[in-house]
Structure formats: structure tokens, C-alpha cells
């Protein structure tokens, strides 16, 4: 009656396996729900403890960068976003680049308001670069299109281009670099 015993044991094993899978999935669910709660907390404007970031999902880091920019902690936001750009899945990377562009552009606007045109110029350039990369990753990213246009109009002399006249390109490139006098020292 070995077959019967094996069959009997099989049913018990299957039950144990099903329960183990259920337990592990419940554990995962609890983890995801916890991360979602933290994301909601960050977006509502309350910081979370650093130890929660030990093995945090990239989405949580992105939420923290949004929070940090809102709180005016630009350097921390920049560090978070730069780390995120190395780790994030492609879907989040476009968002991270766009938020990075917003970070640069906000700082540039603040510098412009304070009268520091020289230090604002490289920041606008960086913002443009970030928006372009976001759009290269996701051409249908409307917010990135809008803000790229804002950034491009902030430095209108850079956009003086004759539509695709190739013989102009060389001179335009030199104009681009002469219009960025503060580039080396303005980097954040």
C-alpha cells in the first residue's frame, strides 16, 4: 500500500506548499502596502525615517525627492535623484529626469530673481538637458514638453536657429558656449 501512502503524503505536502505560498504573498503584500503608505506620507509633506530606505523601492525614493524639493532641500533632492537615475527601471527614469529638470529650473528661477544671471544660466542648461532626456525616453511626456519650452525661452539667444541650415551649425555652436560664461563654477 505504498502508493496510497505516497498519495496521502502528496496531499499533505500540497497543502503545506499552498499555505507557504499564501504566507509569502501576504508578506509581500504587507511590504508593498507599507511602501505605499510611506509614499503617501511623503507626498502629503511629512518626511520618513532614513532606515525605511534600506531596501526601498525606487518609487519611494522618487517620492522622497519630490518631498525634498518641496521642502527646499535642493542638494538632498539632487543626490536622491542622481542615485535614482542609476537604479530606477526605465519607466521611472523619465519621471526622475523630469523631476531633475524641475529641480534645476526652480533653482535657476530663484537665482534669476536674486539677480544672478551668470549662475542661473548653467542651471537652465542642465534643466534643458534633463527635459530632453526625459522626452527621449518618453516622447509623449507633456509636462516635460511644457517645461522644456519654459527653459528654452528663458535663454532665447540659444534658440536662434535657422530651420536646419547646416552651414550655420558651426557658428551656432560657438555661440552656445560663449553664452555660458559661468558654466564651470555654477555647477551644483
Amino acid at each position: 500500500m505504498l502508493i496510497r501512502r505516497i498519495k496521502h503524503g502528496f496531499w499533505w505536502t500540497a497543502l503545506a506548499a499552498a499555505l507557504a505560498v499564501a504566507l509569502s504573498q501576504a508578506w509581500l503584500w504587507a511590504g508593498i502596502a507599507g511602501q505605499n503608505r510611506l509614499i503617501g506620507q511623503l507626498l502629503a509633506g511629512r518626511d520618513v525615517a532614513v532606515e525605511d530606505f534600506a531596501n526601498a523601492d525606487p518609487a519611494l525614493r522618487l517620492a522622497r525627492a519630490v518631498y525634498l524639493r518641496k521642502a527646499g532641500r535642493y542638494d538632498d533632492a539632487l543626490a536622491t535623484l542622481n542615485l535614482l537615475l542609476q537604479q530606477a527601471p526605465p519607466a521611472l527614469r523619465a519621471q526622475a529626469r523630469y523631476n531633475l529638470g524641475n529641480l534645476y529650473l526652480t533653482q535657476a528661477q530663484e537665482k534669476l530673481k536674486a539677480g544672478g544671471v551668470d549662475s542661473a544660466t548653467p542651471l537652465v542648461g542642465l534643466a534643458k538637458q534633463a527635459y530632453r532626456e526625459a522626452l527621449a525616453a518618453d516622447p509623449g511626456f507633456w509636462d516635460a514638453k511644457y517645461n522644456l519650452e519654459v527653459a528654452m525661452r528663458l535663454l532665447p539667444e540659444m534658440d536662434r536657429i535657422n530651420s536646419g541650415n547646416q552651414e550655420d551649425d558651426g557658428s551656432q555652436k560657438s555661440e552656445l558656449w560663449t553664452s555660458l560664461p559661468g558654466f564651470p563654477r555654477g555647477l551644483p
Binding site: N36, G40, Y146, S163
Partner: protein, 304 residues
């Protein structure tokens, strides 16, 4: 954004070229190496910053004419505002090529502005000679996204806000959890039924009843214990089982064959107990009966 394709075909057929020009241009060749050349372009208006512009070139060459892949433009920035995102060369049949191009425009106009995607030259090689076929430049218009004097907010010009991440999806985990719980419930019910814990959905488990009866059996009540065990055999078989009909029972329930010697002893012992004049009782018999009943119970629920 749904992009309707307006097809503008720039066709150059060899037949259209005049024979006189051909004779003057290439003295050796009987006709042009590129038989057909089509440039398919999308609508030439309604673009905005960051939009992509797809194009397709269809080329049909004469046999033996090869397109030089090196003459295709390389992906990357073509000028300050134009980026070639993707270029793909597909051989579509014999001596036919399809080139898919995707440009992306990064230009911020103040008003609707006409821009031109520059043309390039495709080179073909034919018996060591090189022939060029030019792809014409293509003009389209680009519109701004904002008004000329844009609205301001406290920090300066109005900006679109940061994008918050979407909440993580739990759908997959929840589906897995539900499936696992369902499987566990089904398996649990099956085992519970097999063990006889579902009296309303009972699998007949007469030995369970007998086992209960035997467990709290005083030595003096041996008769009742034997009767309980007998009735369990009868219920399992569906008819009274006697010692001499044991082979019939085992034929109907072969799983009990593994304890055949014990069963033989049981029926023999029962006969002697009920019908012998002087039954030889021993206290060990009670334990042996209980053990037998335990085996039967294990066989009944399938664990032995």
C-alpha cells in the same frame, strides 16, 4: 497622440528619366540602378516640441545593386534641435530596401514656425561603381505650447509641477494570494473529508467510530468492543463479514490485505470469545484489538 499618415510620395521611376539624359550621364549603364524610390512622410503640420516624426524610405534597385549601409545617417543629434532617434534598414524582398527613420524635434518656437529636416544622400554600389540617390529635405511646421507672454506665478514663470510616482501595484500579489488560499482551502477540505471531520459531507468512516468506542473500553466490556469492530467491518463491506468470508472482503477492499494476518486473528478470536465454552482471555488482547483498529483507521483514511 494619434498620428494620421499623409503620404507624400516622391517617386522617381527610371522610365520617367529621359533617354537622352541617361545616355549622356552614364555611358555604360543601360538604365538607372535605382528603379523606384519612395519617401513616405507624415502630415507636415501640427507638431510641438519633443514630438517624433516618423519617415519611411522605400527603394527598389536593379539586381546586383547594393545599398551602402554606411551612407545612412547615424542615430543621434543631427543639429541643435533635431535628433535622429532610430534608423532601421530592412531588406524587404529581392533588391528592395525599407528604411524606417524616427526623428525627434526639440525646438521652442515663439509662433508657428516652419522647420526643415535636412536631406541626405543614399549611396549604392554597382560593380565597383558608386551611385547616389538623394533623399530630399522635408519641411513641416511646429507650434508653441505656451502663449507669447506666459503666465507668471510666485517663483517666476509658471512651471508644471513635479511628477509624483504612482503607487506600487498590489494586483499581482493579491491574485497570487487568492489563488494560494483557494488551493489551500480545497486541499484542506479534501483532507478533512478523508479524515472524517466533515460529518455532513461524510466519507464513510466506520473505523473512526469504532476507534472512539475502543479507546475508552474497560477490559470487562470486551464484548462491546468486538461488536463495534465487527459493525465497522460490516459497514465498510456493506454486508456482514465473517471469518470464512474474509477473502471476499479482501477482494472488495484489497487495501486491508496488508494486515491480513491480524484480521484472521481477529475473526478467530471473536469466534472463540463468543462461541467457545471456555474463552481464554488475556489483558493483552484488548491492546491488540486497539492496535488493529488503529491500523484499520489508517487504511480507511488512506494514510497507510
Amino acid at each position: 497622440m494619434k498620428r494620421r499618415r499623409y503620404l507624400v510620395k516622391v517617386s522617381r521611376l527610371a522610365a520617367l528619366a529621359s533617354a537622352a539624359t541617361l545616355a549622356a550621364a552614364c555611358a555604360g549603364g543601360p538604365s538607372r540602378p535605382v528603379e523606384a524610390f519612395n519617401l513616405e512622410t507624415p502630415r507636415p503640420f501640427g507638431y510641438q516640441i519633443g514630438d517624433t516624426v516618423p519617415m519611411r524610405i522605400l527603394v527598389q534597385t536593379r539586381p546586383g545593386v547594393q545599398l551602402q549601409a554606411a551612407s545612412l545617417p547615424k542615430p543621434g543629434p543631427l543639429n541643435r534641435w533635431l535628433n535622429l532617434r532610430r534608423i532601421e534598414l530592412v531588406e524587404a524582398g529581392a533588391d528592395a530596401y525599407r528604411i524606417d527613420l524616427e526623428y525627434q524635434v526639440f525646438y521652442a518656437p515663439l509662433e508657428v514656425k516652419a522647420l526643415t529636416i535636412p536631406g541626405f544622400a543614399l549611396r549604392f554600389s554597382q560593380y565597383g561603381q558608386t551611385v547616389e540617390e538623394s533623399v530630399p529635405p522635408w519641411q513641416f511646421t511646429l507650434a508653441p505650447l505656451r502663449e507669447l507672454i506666459a503666465r507668471q506665478d510666485v517663483d517666476g514663470e509658471y512651471l508644471r509641477p513635479d511628477q509624483p510616482p504612482a503607487l506600487l501595484s498590489t494586483a499581482g500579489v493579491r491574485t497570487n494570494l487568492a489563488l494560494a488560499l483557494m488551493a489551500a482551502a480545497v486541499l484542506g477540505l479534501k483532507l478533512a473529508r478523508q479524515y472524517g471531520y466533515l460529518p455532513w459531507f461524510a466519507r464513510r468512516s466506520p473505523f473512526k467510530t469504532a476507534e472512539k468506542r475502543l479507546r475508552r473500553l474497560a477490559p470487562a466490556e470486551l464484548a462491546a468492543g468486538l461488536a463495534a469492530l465487527h459493525s465497522a467491518f460490516n459497514a465498510t463491506y456493506g454486508a456482514p463479514v465473517f471469518g470464512h468470508r474474509l477473502p471476499d472482503f479482501l477482494r472488495a477492499h484489497p487495501e486491508f490485505g496488508q494486515i491480513q494476518s491480524e484480521l484472521v486473528w481477529f475473526f478467530d478470536y471473536s469466534n472463540r470469545f463468543f462461541f467457545a465454552v471456555q474463552p481464554d482471555l488475556a489483558s493483552a488482547d484488548c491492546e491488540r484489538l486497539q492496535k488493529l483498529c488503529g491500523w484499520c483507521r489508517a487504511i480507511e483514511r488512506g494514510s497507510r
